[in-house]
Amino acid sequence: MKTPRSEGIEGAAGGPLGDRPDARPPAGALPSPPHRSGPPTWPVTLGLVVTIAGAVGFAVSFILGAGNGWIGGFLAAALLGLGVALAWWGRDLAGDEVITAPYPVPHEDPEGRDALASALEQDTGVLTRRRFLFRLLIVGGAVFAFSQVVLLGALGPRPRSSLRTTAWTPGARLVDSEGVPVTRDALAAGGTLVAFPEGHVGSADAQVALFHFVNGDFKPQPGRESWSPEDFVAYSRVCTHVGCVVAQYEDEAQRLVCPCHQSSFDLLDGARVVFGPAGRPLPQLPLAIDEQGCLVAQSDFTEPVGPGFWDEGLS
C-alpha cells in the first residue's frame, strides 16, 4: 500500500512527468540534477514510439493482405504501446495529488431516515386514500401481467407424442447413411454400422447403432428374444443421459461409450449402463429380417429414446 503523500509539501509531489511548467529550468541553463527520484519517463516515450510503429505496421499489413499474425501483432503492439504510455504516465501522477473526501453516509437521525418514506406517503396519499380503487388497480395490473404468459404458447408446440415416437414403423427397412438398405450380408459378424429408417437418413431420434454379434455372444433380455434375428441387434444412438450421440465403440469390451460424459453401455447385456452418469439402458429396436434378406423394424421403439423427462413412464 502506498501511503498518501500530504498535500502542499514542496518537492515531495510530482515526478518528472508531473513537473509544473514553472518548475522548468530557464532556457540555456545547465540541466539541474534530479531533485527527486521519480519513475523514469522512457517507458512513456518507448510506448508512444511503439504505438506509432504498430499503427503504421497494422495499416500496411492490412492493406497488403498479410496474415492474422501480422495484422493482429501490429495492432496489439500499437494498443499495448499506447496503454503502457498512458498507464505509466497516470501512475506517476497518482502520487502527485492526494486528497481526502467524505464518503456519502446514511442518515443517522430518525427524521432523515424516514424523510423519503414520508415524502412518498404524502405524495401518493391521494391514490391510497381511494382504497377500493387502489386495490382494484393492483389486482387489475397483476391479472393483466399474468395474462401475458399465454404468449409463450406461441413459441413452441405442446409436446404430445413427439418425445415418445420416432420415424420407425412396423416393417420399415434399415438403411445406412447413404440410404442403401442393410441386408443380412451387408454386415459381417463382429461388424457395426449406423442405420436409419428408410426415407429418414440423418434423423436425430431414430438413428440406431446396428451390431452383428459373433454367434453366441449376445444374450437377449427376457421378453426380447425375438428382437435380435441372427444376432443382429440395434440400439438407439441417443444417449439417455443428455442426448449426445453414443458414438464411441469399444470392440474389446463390447461397449458403446458416449464421448460427451463417458456413459458406457454393455452391448451384450441389453445396453445396460456399466459406468457414467446415464440412468437407463439405450432403448433397443425390435428387428426382423424380411424375405429379401433386408433388416426391418418390427415396430417403433417400445420406450422413449434419449434423456428422461417427468412423465416418460406414461405411455
Binding site: F62, G72, L80, V84, G95, T100, Y103, V105, V273
Partner: protein
C-alpha cells in the same frame, strides 16, 4: 497542478495561445444550464489507489471490446440454418453441405480481411470477461466489500455474472459447428429434465423437439441485443451506484469509514484507466493474433448423428459440465413419475452455487450482528471464517471444473476415466471442508500473531 494551468497547458503544448477547451466549456455551460459546475466537481472525484480496484475494470473493458468486435462480426454472420454448399477458401470442407450460419462463420474467418482476428479477439474477450468478473467477485468477497452500503451492488454483480455466462453460452452456440450443436442438445435435455414443465419449456425455447431449424435465429437476437442490453443496464447501474458511493479503501492513515483518501479523477486516474483499457485491448488482440480459439472448421458442421471426443464447453461452463459427468445416474422413479438424475447437477447445482452468493451479505450481517456501514476494507486473513468459507467454495467449484475435463486428464495421465471420476467424486466431498479447515487454521494463527 491547478486546473486552469492544465487547460492552458493542453493548448500551449501544441503552440496554441488560448486553450480550445475554454470556448467548449462555455458552450457546454450555456447549453446544460450551468451543468459545467457539476462536471467540474466530478473532475475531482476521488479514486483510492490500489491494484485491486482495477480488476472490475478489466471486466468492463472486456465488455467494451466484445461490443466493438461483435458489431464487426454481426456484419458478416447469417443467423440461419438453411442448408447451403460451402464453396469458400477452406479446402477440406469444400462442397460439403453446411448451414448458412456455419457457412458465414467460415466465410468471415477465411474470406474477410482480419475477420478471423476479430472473431478470435471476440471469443478471447468473452473468456477473459467471465474470468475478470469472477476474480473481481472474489476480491469483493475476501476483503468484505459486499458489506453495507454495497449490498445492492454485490447482488447486481452476481446477476451480471449469470447474464454474462448465459450470453457466452449463446455465443458459443451460434456458429452451428459440431460442438455448439452438442451444447444446444445438452441444454435442451437439461430443460427437459425439469419436473412437470420440462418438455414443454424445452419446446417453447427451441420451437419444437430437438433439433429444430430455427434455434440459431432465436439465439441470435438474444445474443446481440437482449442480453447485451441487460448487461449494459446492469453495468450502468453497478457503475452508477459505485460512482455515487465511491470506491472502498484499504486501511491506512487518515482513512476511515467516513473519509476517503485518493487521487482526483483528472488527470492521473483518467490517464491510467484509459491506459488500462488499451492494455486489455492489446492483450486480447495479441491472444486473437497468436492463440487459436474455437477453430470451428476443425470441428465440422453440426449434424445430429456426429460426435466428437474430448469436447469441452467454454471454461466458465466447466463446473456444470463437471457436475454432469460426476453425478451418478440415479434416476428416481415413483410409479410412472421420473426425476432424471441430470436434474440435480444441471438445475439444482447452479442454484446451490448462486443462492449462497446472493444471500451471503445478509448471512454475514446476521452472523456478526453487524448493522453498521463499511467503507474501509478488511484483509482476507483478518476474517478467518470468511476466508475458510470462500476457500472451500472455490475448491468445490474447482473440483467440478476439473471434472469437466475428466477424459482429458485420463488421457494425459494414462489412467482409466473410471478411476479419475471416482477420485473426483470423492474430492467433491472431501476437498472443500479440508481446504476450509486448513485455511481457517492458518488464518487464525496469522491474525493472532498480527492482530489488526
Amino acid at each position: 497542478m491547478s486546473r486552469r494551468r492544465l487547460l492552458n497547458s493542453l493548448g500551449s503544448a501544441f503552440g496554441v495561445r488560448r486553450s480550445p477547451l475554454r470556448p467548449v466549456a462555455r458552450w457546454t455551460d450555456r447549453n446544460l444550464g450551468g451543468g459545467s459546475r457539476l462536471v467540474k466537481e466530478e473532475l475531482r472525484h476521488v479514486f483510492p489507489d490500489s491494484w485491486a480496484f482495477f480488476l472490475g475494470e478489466i471486466a468492463l473493458y472486456c465488455f467494451v471490446i466484445l461490443v466493438v468486435t461483435g458489431i464487426f462480426l454481426s456484419l458478416f454472420f447469417e443467423a440461419s440454418q438453411t442448408p447451403t454448399v460451402y464453396e469458400g477458401a477452406y479446402q477440406p470442407l469444400q462442397g460439403s453441405e453446411v448451414s448458412a450460419a456455419y457457412n458465414s462463420v467460415l466465410g468471415l474467418s477465411f474470406n474477410v480481411k482480419a475477420g478471423l482476428l476479430i472473431r478470435q479477439v471476440h471469443h478471447w474477450a468473452a473468456l477473459v470477461f467471465v474470468a475478470a468478473l469472477i476474480i473481481h467477485l472474489l476480491r469483493m468477497f475476501f476483503t468484505g466489500a459486499y458489506r453495507k452500503p454495497r449490498v445492492i451492488n454485490w447482488l447486481l454483480g452476481i446477476v451480471l455474472l449469470i447474464t454474462v455466462g448465459m450470453n457466452g453460452l449463446f455465443g458459443y452456440s451460434l456458429p452451428d459447428d459440431l460442438l455448439s450443436g452438442v451444447g444446444l442438445r445438452v441444454a435442451y435435455s437439461i430443460t427437459e429434465s425439469i419436473p412437470f414443465l420440462g418438455p414443454w419449456l424445452a419446446s417453447i425455447m427451441f420451437g419444437g423437439e430437438f433439433p429444430t431449424s430455427g434455434i440459431i435465429a432465436r439465439i441470435y437476437p438474444a445474443h446481440i441485443l437482449l442480453l447485451p442490453l441487460g448487461i449494459m443496464g446492469l453495468l450502468g447501474l453497478h457503475m452508477g451506484i459505485l460512482w455515487f458511493q465511491r470506491h472502498t479503501e484499504f486501511p491506512g492513515p487518515a482513512r476511515d469509514d467516513r473519509t476517503m483518501v485518493g487521487t482526483p479523477m483528472v488527470p492521473a486516474y483518467a490517464l491510467r484507466t484509459v491506459g488500462y483499457l488499451l492494455l486489455v485491448a492489446g492483450v486480447l488482440t495479441a491472444f486473437g493474433a497468436f492463440l487459436q480459439i474455437n477453430p470451428v472448421w476443425l470441428y465440422g458442421p453440426y449434424t445430429p448423428f456426429d460426435a466428437t471426443t474430448q469436447a469441452q464447453p467454454d471454461w466458465y461452463m466447466g463446473w456444470m459440465e463437471g457436475g454432469l459427468r460426476l453425478m451418478p445416474g440415479w434416476d428416481i422413479r415413483i410409479g410412472w413419475f421420473l426425476l432424471p438424475a441430470v436434474f440435480w447437477p444441471a438445475v439444482i447445482l447452479p442454484g446451490l452455487v448462486f443462492t449462497p452468493l446472493l444471500v451471503w451479505p445478509f448471512v454475514d450481517q446476521w452472523a456478526l450482528n453487524d448493522r453498521g456501514f463499511h467503507n474501509v476494507l478488511t484483509y482476507p486473513s483478518q476474517r478467518p471464517g470468511r476466508l475458510a468459507v470462500g476457500a472451500g467454495f472455490v475448491t468445490f467449484l474447482t473440483v467440478l471444473l476439473l471434472g469437466g475435463a475428466d477424459d482429458v486428464f485420463a488421457n494425459i495421465w494414462n489412467l482409466d476415466v473410471v478411476t479419475v471420476v471416482h477420485a473426483l467424486r470423492a474430492m467433491v466431498f472431501v476437498a472443500p471442508p479440508l481446504v476450509a479447515a486448513v485455511t481457517y487454521a492458518i488464518a487464525r494463527k496469522r491474525s493472532e500473531r498480527w492482530p489488526v
